[in-house]
């Protein structure tokens, strides 16, 4: 086994026992990047020299001391190129560190590179990246998902030990699902948004993408906690993982029937139903939820609100600063800016924006109602496994369809996780999502951890 294949927990142990050095660990990841990047294209920028320099002085007493970290390219990293995979920011060097980056750096993490994504996080494939699509490590003819596709692929391909991504509606969980890794999307406000290039401000949620549930929990502990730079951050101290459960006895887990739409891939459905059996064996009471609001409404709500906020958030890239002018925006960004500008315009505002906000409230209320019956909700992350390269082309609503099962919980600001729960006949991974009420990351962790401890899907690695 190569060092780059280690989990965070294993790497920390090895470093602590001086089995290897941080330099060796970083080198192993950089070697893997060199070897696999021509195929995968997970990174926009790799900081080889800086990473090796930092590894020499790594402080191993810190929780992430000497650990190679891959960062989605919409997190500002001071003095380093930060593009959000858009040519508009091709030469932009960030002026400051995002709060999350500051916290990960103080914890000793070494940033080895910035990962590819859909430009401005607009998409669920990474195909809208101005730097070319990332490929799925399980099959390079397939997409990694997105928008945090680069981070998910980097973890699946062992190019880094840990990574961070951001989710607005599926952008952590969907690529984690398609790449067979763990993506933990915290409650809105649990992790500061400061220094993450804004996409849809009202649901943007940074979070970890890692190899195991515990690795993701370790990152979330470091990333979370109130931030005086973010007025929407939850005013609580850092999240701390709870003790592991011996069983799921006494827990009611809901299975929304509407999360199994007609177009669902049969192997996805069978993998989820197998996961249901595992959870039952672990003691959970599975309750079918027949009346969960059809996720299709979330697609409409998300589309309107996301485009509206995008049109405003991207207006600052006006051609005066940041190097490149607006002609450098890709087709997807232009489409979203135009639709958002339209939906906010006077005469249309009430018909679109206001109505979408009202439906958003209904979606939140629907979750409240469901959580009176159950403690958590599970379902497939995506209706399918990773789709082939090119699947998003000409599909303006590609992301919304792929993310339809994670959009409702994103819109409601709920925490959730995607964990590996099976493979299709082409050996492409299937992800199980676990959703809980707001601020109940503890429960997400407990269920995911117990599931992972009792299954072996997460141990499978793609052959590269």
């Amino acid at each position: 086994m190569n060092l780059n294949q280690l989990t965070l927990a294993q790497a920390k142990e090895g470093l602590a026992q001086k089995k290897f050095s941080s330099s060796e660990l970083v080198s192993a990841c950089l070697d893997q990047i060199k070897k696999t990047e021509p195929q995968l294209n997970s990174f926009v920028t790799v900081f080889e020299k800086e990473a090796l320099d930092q590894a020499k002085n790594a402080d191993l007493s810190k929780p992430l001391g000497g650990i190679p970290l891959a960062v989605k390219d919409n997190f500002l990293t001071q003095g380093q190129r930060t593009t959000a995979s858009s040519k508009v920011l091709d030469q932009y060097l960030a002026h400051y560190d995002a709060t999350t980056i500051e916290r990960l750096k103080s914890a000793g993490a070494i940033i080895i590179g910035k990962t590819n994504m859909d430009a401005w996080a607009h998409g669920s494939s990474t195909e809208t990246s101005d730097y070319g699509s990332t490929k799925n490590p399980w099959n390079i003819n397939h997409l990694p998902g997105g928008s945090s596709g680069g981070s998910a692929a980097a973890i699946a391909a062992d190019q880094a030990i840990i990574s961070v991504g951001s989710e607005t509606a599926g952008s952590i969980r969907q690529p984690a699902s398609w790449c067979g890794v763990v993506g933990f999307k915290p409650s809105y406000g649990r992790v500061s948004r400061y220094g993450v290039i804004a996409m849809k401000s009202s649901t943007d949620s940074p979070g970890p993408i890692c190899k195991t549930v515990d690795d993701a929990a370790t990152l979330l502990e470091i990333m979370s906690g109130a931030d005086h730079h973010d007025a929407t951050s939850i005013s609580e101290a850092s999240w701390v993982r709870p003790v592991k459960l011996a069983s799921l006895q006494g827990l009611k887990i809901g299975l929304p029937l509407s999360y199994f739409p007609p177009q669902i891939q049969p192997e996805v459905k069978s993998s989820i139903l197998a996961a249901v059996e595992t959870l039952k064996k672990l003691g959970a009471e599975i309750i079918e939820l027949p009346d969960v609001l059809d996720p299709k409404y979330s697609i409409a709500v998300y589309t309107i609100l996301q485009r509206s906020e995008v049109s405003s958030n991207l207006a600052r890239f006006d051609g005066i600063r940041y190097g490149h002018d607006r002609s450098f925006f890709g087709q997807e960004a232009k489409r979203r800016i135009m639709l958002g500008t339209y939906s906010l315009s006077s005469g249309y505002y009430d018909a679109y924006y206001t109505k979408a906000q009202k439906v958003r409230t209904l979606i939140c209320q629907d979750f409240d109602r469901q959580f009176q019956k159950v403690d958590a909700i599970i379902g497939p992350v995506s209706p399918s496994t990773a789709l082939p390269i090119g699947a998003s082309e000409g599909q303006a609503m590609f992301g919304e369809i792929q993310d339809m099962l994670v959009e409702p919980s994103s819109i409601a600001g709920l925490p959730g996780i995607s964990i590996p729960c099976g493979f299709d006949q082409n050996n492409l991974p299937v992800g199980l999502q676990i959703i809980t009420p707001q601020k109940r990351e503890d429960l997400v962790y407990q269920i995911a951890k117990l599931f992972e401890d009792n299954t072996e899907y997460h141990l499978q690695r793609p052959k590269l």
């Binding site: 948004r193 400061y194 207006a315 600052r316 906010l344």
Partner: protein
């Protein structure tokens, strides 16, 4: 043609908070080195987020209360989207649907002017034009601004000026801004149209870039004249699309067309997702109300109840620290004393800058009690010296021998000596009693100025009539 001007004023006031509205940067920007009071937030850098300044919100509420407004307990910020090079984020964070304060009023000479709203927003950066280039200074970007919007209730340029004076006075009283128009910490944009013959309304014109109080008056007067002349030519009436924006050229003293069809501007407002709704409980609002000082109108009414004239009351209330000095000296309704103190404060003491800490109310009282024995000139000199040296005024008067001699016996003695020494003047008096002035002057001089002039005159007349 009967012309009734209809004028509304938008007033922007920069709050004098330490830090900016949404970041920790120093909010002062006057004469600061360009782009030194900036950070990712006020530069609108990618990823930066606004965090509202609590003190600024409280001050906005305080200002709203001082303007007689009701306070919205739950408010939120909105984004106003438009492009301008000095607008860092390409949107301004402001309030449209739920301002902090609504429905207030102030009264100018008995005429009520409605305050529609007072809302919180952020200032923009500044474009500085040098030759063919434009430089951007973001020191002002994100400075807290309160926008006060009046109803269209103002009837003349003169009344607009009085309205602005009043707003400025209130702002300075509550201490939330220096409200200096020349420095730009208070800015006014009048909107003007006319009602002609009680039935036609001319198109609205909003006037920008007015940088002084005189400018506001001149611009309004110019606009009244221009619109009435225009109406005679084209008879055009206002509608929802013909509002214009006009600039003010102070040099030429005229307004000029900047933008037409203002009605169609679309700022695509929507709730600012980066800032949760702001909630102030009734208790918190009451607590803010409790910090309000006695306001100018209350002061004026109080002074009038002391028997002071309109003029005196306004003079005293004009400036808050000045009125506080008066209030320190005059603590109860005592008309004679109030007038006595007023005369000193807006007389001799107005000529020097006085500090409230150095004022000893007891000295004023002592002087007041002895005022019949002192000439008015002596009183002025004594109070000035007493203030400057912190000495008891009575001691000063005694030491300088300023008490008037009111002892008839002593005066008679002096008067007799003067009569004996000036036979020619006595003869003159016998011919013309009005020439007593010379003899009186001699008596005053002989007494070293301490004679009570009225009494001295009576004594002289008595002795001369014998």
């Amino acid at each position: 043609m009967k012309i009734t001007p209809i004028i509304g004023l938008e007033v922007h006031v920069e709050l004098a908070t330490k830090s900016k509205m949404f970041c920790g940067c120093d909010a002062s920007h006057f004469h600061a080195e360009p782009n030194t009071h900036t950070c990712p937030v006020c530069l609108g850098l990618p990823g930066a987020l606004p965090v509202p300044n609590k003190v600024a919100c409280e001050w906005c509420i305080k200002l709203g209360l001082a303007l007689g407004c009701s306070i919205n307990q739950e408010t939120f910020f909105e984004r106003k989207n438009y492009f301008y090079p000095d607008l860092a984020k390409s949107y301004q964070i402001t309030q449209l649907q739920k301002p902090f304060a609504i429905n207030g009023k102030i009264t100018i000479n008995g005429h009520e002017i409605r305050i529609n709203r007072a809302h919180m927003e952020e200032d923009t950066g500044k474009s500085v034009h040098v030759n063919d280039s434009t430089l951007l200074d973001f020191n002002r970007s994100g400075v807290p601004l309160v926008e006060i919007v009046s109803g269209p209730d103002i009837k003349s340029a003169e009344e607009a000026k009085e309205y602005l004076n009043k707003i400025q006075q209130i702002i300075r009283y509550i201490g939330v801004s220096d409200a200096d128009i020349e420095k730009g910490s208070m800015r006014c944009e009048p909107t003007v149209n006319l009602c002609i013959d009680d039935q036609y309304y001319t198109p609205l014109a909003e006037i920008k870039n007015v940088a002084s109080l005189t400018g506001v008056m001149n611009a309004i007067n110019y606009e009244i004249k221009r619109q009435s002349e225009q109406f005679e030519i084209d008879h055009q009436e206002k509608n929802s699309t013909n509002k214009t924006t006009r600039g003010w050229n102070a040099e030429k003293s005229e307004t000029f067309l900047q933008r037409e069809k203002e009605g169609s501007a679309d700022y695509r407002y929507f709730p600012e997702p980066d800032i949760p709704p702001i909630i102030f409980t009734p208790e918190q609002i009451e607590a803010i109300k409790a910090t309000l000082p006695e306001l100018p109108d209350d002061k004026i009414n109080k002074y009038k109840s002391y028997g002071l004239s309109d003029y005196d009351a306004n003079q005293l209330a004009d400036d808050k620290s000045f009125s506080e000095i008066f209030d320190k000296i005059v603590t109860q309704n005592d008309p004679g004393y109030a007038k006595f103190v007023t005369n000193l404060l807006i007389g001799p003491l107005k000529t020097i800058s006085i500090e409230i800490e150095k004022i000893n109310p007891e000295y004023f009282k002592k002087l007041f009690d002895k005022k019949s024995e002192l000439s008015s000139t002596a009183i002025k000199d004594i109070i000035l010296e007493s203030y400057q040296t912190n000495q008891d005024p009575i001691a000063i008067a005694t030491q300088k021998n300023l008490f008037q001699v009111s002892d008839t016996g002593a005066l008679e003695k002096i008067a007799q000596q003067v009569i004996d020494a000036n036979p020619k003047a006595v003869a003159d008096y016998q011919k013309n009693p009005l020439s007593i002035g010379f003899l009186l002057g001699q008596v005053m001089r002989a007494s070293g100025g301490s004679a009570n002039p009225q009494l001295a005159k009576e004594v002289l007349e008595k002795l001369l009539s014998i």
